[in-house]
């Protein structure tokens, strides 16, 4: 009788041991998976279509600061740290760095490598759309298509478009202005 109980107990504990081991293995694979999917990398880079960008622009819950940039655009790269500072310091603002690289290179790898190398934390979206003339006006009628360009949209739908390079302190001023 005692033996049977002991046997059952040991079997159960064996199962428990086996259970914790398999959980450990599972956790290990999950960790590996997360690493591979870029969960621990600086930022998520999503390839999107215009419709998805328009949906994000339609009714923002926070003030949206959308920067249109490309890895080949010198002035764009100079101002990226200002967007990083803004998104780190102001939790009421959502920064979207929308890459226009697709126009010259449809492979998103270049952007992804750049984002990883520069350890960019802001959300990076890669807009994959052909024929820019058909959609530039849908983002903003005043936008010429020149890079860099920055569009602010607040929860009330108020907009401000800045064409050209921004300098230190400009973004904070623009965010204050649009929410006044």
């Amino acid at each position: 009788m005692n033996f049977t109980i002991l046997n059952i107990l040991s079997r159960q504990s064996y199962i428990v041991v086996l259970g914790s081991e398999s959980i450990f293995i599972l956790m290990k694979y999950l960790l590996l998976f997360l690493c591979f999917t870029g969960f621990f990398s600086a930022s998520a880079q999503e390839v999107i279509r215009l419709k998805e960008l328009q949906e994000r622009m339609a009714s923002p819950r926070q003030t949206l600061v959308i920067n249109f940039w490309a890895t080949w655009c010198g002035p764009c790269l100079k101002e990226i740290p200002y967007f990083e500072t803004l998104s780190a310091k102001n939790k009421n603002v959502k920064v979207l760095l929308v890459s226009m690289d697709y126009d010259l290179d449809p492979n998103p790898e270049k952007v992804k490598k750049f984002v990883a190398r520069k350890k960019i934390h802001s959300t990076v979206l890669i807009l994959a759309e052909d024929n820019p003339s058909s959609w530039i006006d849908k983002i903003d009628k005043d936008w010429t298509g020149a890079l860099p360009a920055t569009l602010l949209i607040n929860p009330n739908g108020k907009r401000k478009l800045i064409q050209g390079e921004l300098h230190e302190g400009d973004l904070e001023k623009l965010v204050n202005e649009i929410n006044q």
Binding site: A70, D103, P132, S133, T144, G145, A146, Q163
Partner: protein, 201 residues
């Protein structure tokens, strides 16, 4: 009555402060005189037989400009013999943009074997007049009895990375229409491009 007058004054003030942002389709372009990479000055008036012009604001270093380089050369080959010459103007301030000096332009024109003008807009007066915002930015001018009328503003075609895959050849379509005496279907387009680097703005 008083509020009406105030409104009128305010709106007039608004008008006077509204900066004109370059040419629109239908405007008449004024001539310019700019230095070519061969050292000679070039004006539209130097082409008495021209039926119009393909003016392209372009530069040495912009990746979009580079992507369109051979297409610009092809446009010149096709349309210069039809009295629709191509004229390139570099609008960038070399102080603000690396690799855009006049010497760099001379080198670029030699390397690319340009047989059409590549002009240096040193004062940036011409780019302000036209209102070009990015490179390459095209202005097709049509010679009329009232002067050089702006007939098309925008991109060369709709596919930057692959000329063979372009579905709309905006500039060719515009010039072909003008040469055939037809109306241009698409008069204004936009493209993703490098911003023009203008001083004091």
């Amino acid at each position: 009555m008083k509020p009406l007058i105030v409104l009128l004054i305010v709106s007039l003030m608004g008008l006077s402060f509204t900066e004109k942002k370059g040419y629109d389709v239908g405007d008449t372009a004024t001539d310019f005189k700019l230095k070519n990479t061969n050292g000679k000055m070039v004006s539209l008036a130097d082409y008495p037989n021209a039926k119009g012009f393909i003016i392209i604001f372009d530069c040495n270093t912009c990746p979009v400009s580079k992507a369109y380089n051979s297409r610009i050369i092809a446009l010149s080959k096709k349309y210069t013999p039809q009295n629709f010459p191509v004229i390139l103007i570099n609008p960038n301030s070399p102080e603000l943009a690396k690799g855009e000096s006049f010497d760099a332009m001379v080198k670029h024109a030699k390397e690319k074997k340009y047989d059409f003008p590549y002009l240096y807009d040193e004062t940036q007066e011409t780019v302000r007049q036209f209102g070009a915002t990015n490179t390459p930015h095209v202005f097709v001018l049509n010679k009329t009895s009232n002067g050089m009328m702006v007939a098309y503003i925008g991109a060369i075609d709709d596919n930057t990375r692959n000329a063979a895959k372009a579905k709309n050849h905006f500039v060719e379509d515009a010039v072909n229409s003008l040469l055939a005496g037809k109306e241009i279907t698409v008069t204004k387009t936009k493209a993703v491009g490098c911003s023009v680097k203008i001083k004091n703005i």
